[in-house]
């Protein structure tokens, strides 16, 4: 008999927080439960969208950070 998994379990699985034993069971359930598979697909699709909306700061702020580090008078620790 396959175990019933909740959406919370799927979330933990999608983020790699489930144990290897849970992984085997979840993967088994995904293969034979269309509804669970559909829920998981939606979850993964939404997470993929979140990945894509990461943004980069301007080059100027990055340069200011690097300049600050170079000009910092604090002594390097392990010289």
């Amino acid at each position: 008999m396959t175990q019933t998994f909740t959406e919370n379990d799927l979330l933990r699985y999608a983020y790699g927080e489930t144990s290897s034993t849970e992984n085997v069971e979840i993967e088994k359930s995904l293969l034979c439960d269309d509804l669970l598979q559909e829920t998981y697909n939606q979850l993964v699709a939404t997470l993929a969208e979140l990945d894509k909306c990461a943004i980069k700061p301007s080059d100027s702020v990055v340069q200011r950070i690097l300049d600050y580090s170079k000009s910092s008078n604090l002594p390097s620790v392990l010289k």
Partner: protein, 199 residues
């Protein structure tokens, strides 16, 4: 000089010995994650850049003064600094509210940098900008968990500990955040095809 993929811990060690190139690599590697985390909280690109700069400056000062002791965990440490600064700013801004425009930028930035209001100009055509706006509109508790899990890479247990709730509450908030986002995406016609991601 060509360097192979070096771990954060190795880069920090090199930086402690005065290797500025190692620090440049750390910044390049993590700038997007730090900036996105802050931006989603403060909702303004200029403020986010200022806070990102402050975060890295704090990191530089801590490392160069020999007070850094989180070897191997540079990114979570840096993200905690960034998150704390962003939350502090957010709380202060709440106490002294600024006038927020329709696109989420504050009126000061709109007046000062009207020609540069890239986010507002692109928002209609840029679905990712729109998605960022939808994330910012989530209820605070849901947005907090989403940022901590997805962008700060904290585990659900770490989030539960940090926000003083049970792991099931943290998971529930994340689940509702994603459900809300999906609904809002459908309402605003952000098209994504779940079939595309099928294995």
């Amino acid at each position: 000089m060509i360097r192979k993929e070096v771990s954060d811990s190795q880069l920090v060690s090199l930086y402690m010995k005065g290797d500025e190139e190692a620090f440049a690599q750390l910044v390049e590697k993590h700038k997007s994650r730090v900036f996105t985390t802050i931006y989603l909280i403060v909702k303004d690109q200029y403020t986010a850049e200022d806070l990102m700069q402050d975060s890295f400056i704090k990191a530089v000062n801590t490392i160069k003064s020999g007070r850094y002791n989180e070897e191997g965990k540079f990114l979570p440490w840096l993200l905690r600094i960034a998150h704390n600064l962003a939350i502090d700013h957010f709380r202060k801004a709440k106490r002294y509210p600024t006038i927020v425009m329709e696109d989420g930028s504050n009126v000061f930035n709109t007046l000062e940098f009207s020609e540069d209001s890239i986010e507002s100009l692109q928002i209609k055509k840029d679905t990712h900008a729109l998605l960022r706006k939808l994330i910012q509109e989530l209820p605070e508790s849901q947005k907090e968990v989403l940022i901590m899990r997805h962008y700060m890479q904290m585990s659900f247990q770490e989030i539960a500990d940090a926000t003083d709730v049970s792991i099931n509450t943290a998971l529930g908030r994340m689940r509702y955040a994603l459900i809300n986002l999906r609904k809002k995406m459908q309402k605003t016609n952000i098209a994504y095809d779940p079939n595309f991601y099928r294995k």
